[in-house]
Symmetry: C2
Subunit: 331 residues, 2 copies
DNA sequence: CAGAACGCGTGAAACGATTCATGAACCGTC
DNA sequence: GACGGTTCATGAATCGTTTCACGCGTTCTG
């Protein structure tokens, strides 16, 4: 049992099996090798409990089998889900994940991108909020929810379609006058198309709508002012809301209830994202569900296929509507 | 700009600075070196945009600056929080985190432990559910919430104290007859002390209590049967609940409301963990809050201090009570 | 002022894998 | 039976660091 402490190297295996170093390497990497040799090597590997040393492999081959995921945090449910599925998709393919939490800090975003390149990762999946990002060349780079240029593939949900769907649903559920609440970041990223889809959907359905944009740093109370004005101080109060995220929907519901209205009886609310309580329980509101596993799977398979030519630079994945207790169809 | 593509090596820096390889190494690693040499090297490093190659460093030094975190997933809010803070604590110290999701699968737990050892990580932090785990020697290993032996340090919240605190609070809030709901895994880990603390607290306060243990695989409906029986079919209905986790509290609240009771007016509920909506918004129920940042910080600093001698094998961190809308003190 | 002691920069060796030029062994053909 | 062609195991060189024995130059001591 003494030998267990020291980890065996490839030459130990070669000596044990009575073959050359190169032969062991071939067996390990699944390259063709004579049957008898393969068996001898495999026996030696098992006997010595040999595993390749990733550092040595990476040093020589210049590939680390590691992909960096750059993301604000794992605390927000959507990011937590995404992180989980990205990791699983990578693991399935024999890759490891290097997590970089930006905390929405632009400096950290840029710092991670450069740092990670020097850390010799084999690719980067980034969900960032910087307006400008120095995107390294010579290393596969895909983004989620943020389109930079045609040479940087972007994976996103069908945000526009989701917005349309929400509008259609609200119309279908009998709403007469609806509003879209969103936090209007100065940054135009993919999720900001949700409102555009919603507008399009409302026009299509002939639904009268209001738009409430919270610009960067505006206090949440702006929503309350807007809602109070459009519910209490009017003859045609809102009876439907579409919110840019489920989080926002949650806040809006609190405000609306505070104004004395019932959800969904008096006013129906649809969010976006598909967040569930505890990550896997009930949906916290009626919502447009993002296909998180598919987003992760697509991002991973794209970052690993180092040939982006011919692929559309923006890949849109289908969303679906999910009743979640804040629309009348879920009663 | 051609040179930017190729990453510079240490000997490039040495040549550029006109010094020897070893000197560059010393500068990089902060070892004492003559002032003029240091300046020349630093200039060359900047000029060539040099960064050490982690693979080469790891290969030679046999240390990877990576710690493995073995955890069921990042989808459950508690795990997501822990993952986040562990990563931050590691980053602060110049370490990277290697994430291993077990999905509560015992085989995966064991597989990761062995795999990770061969991946040459510098230490392991594990939150597992296996009754037996082959704990590798010769590599720092600390656990969270699961005590294996005196030689494997375990970090946990003060689960017993938290249970006591919950009992005391319920008594203080005027409860007459309370119950403890828990999912009684066959595994005795640290969190299972919550019920013991609760029992102790009830006895201390002279509070009459029931215990409802859900054994492995028992359906959630068992809770409903228990609650129905102890609320509707009795002269002295329950007016307080302590649940092993916030998730369970959430389920219990749904059941209780389904029976026609109001929370917290008719029955007050306290959970455990300190989960918040969206990770950083409101607490989802009145709860005993685990000090997640401190848990992470402690686990990290322990796994990195490779000398465990003299430390108590079980480290308990203080919890606190937090009103969250399901007890009368939060109205 | 000689010799010991010390400080410090030097560069070769080693970590454990991959790769590739080399040549041995074997097969088929005339 | 000899020769060309093919297959395939071999092992030396290499990746970019860290480490350490070495020796040069300087300072200290008596």
């Amino acid at each position: 049992m003494k030998g267990d402490k020291q980890t065996a190297t490839m030459s130990d295996v070669a000596r044990e099996a009575g073959v050359a170093l190169g032969t062991v390497s071939k067996v390990i990497n699944g390259q063709p090798v004579g049957e008898s040799y393969r068996l001898r090597v495999e026996a030696a590997v098992k006997k010595l409990n040999y595993r390749v040393n990733p550092s040595a492999k990476a040093l020589k081959s210049n590939r680390t089998s590691t992909i960096a995921l750059i993301i604000p945090n794992t605390i927000s449910p959507f990011f937590a889900l995404l992180t989980h599925y990205v990791n699983m998709a990578l693991e399935k393919r024999g890759y490891k994940m290097m997590l970089c939490f930006t905390e929405y800090d632009r400096d950290r975003e840029q710092e991670f991108v450069s740092m990670v390149v020097h850390n010799r990762v084999d690719g980067i999946i980034a969900l960032t909020y910087s307006a400008h990002l120095d995107i390294p060349e010579g290393i596969p780079f895909v983004t989620i929810d943020r389109f930079f240029s045609v040479s940087v593939p972007c994976i996103a949900s069908d945000n526009f379609g989701g917005g349309q769907l929400a509008a259609r649903k609200l119309a279908e559920l009998g709403c007469r006058r609806v509003a879209c609440l969103r936090s209007g970041s100065s940054l135009t990223n993919e999720p900001s198309k949700r409102k555009d889809g919603f507008v399009s959907g409302c026009m299509e359905a002939g639904l009268s709508f209001e738009m409430c944009n919270l610009t960067d740093g505006a206090p949440l109370s702006a929503f309350e002012v807007f809602l109070r004005h459009n519910i209490l101080d009017t003859d045609t109060p809102l009876d439907g809301l579409f919110c840019g995220t489920d989080l926002m929907a949650w806040d809006a519901i609190k405000i609306v209830r505070g104004l004395g209205l019932r959800v969904p009886e008096d006013i129906q609310v649809i969010g976006f994202d598909g967040i569930r309580m505890f990550g896997d329980q009930d949906y916290i509101c009626s919502t447009i569900v993002q296909p998180v596993p598919a987003l992760a799977e697509t991002a991973v398979s794209m970052v690993l296929s180092n040939d982006f030519t011919g692929l559309p630079p923006l890949i849109c994945l289908p969303v679906r509507y999910q009743p979640g207790g804040t629309t009348r169809d879920s009663l």
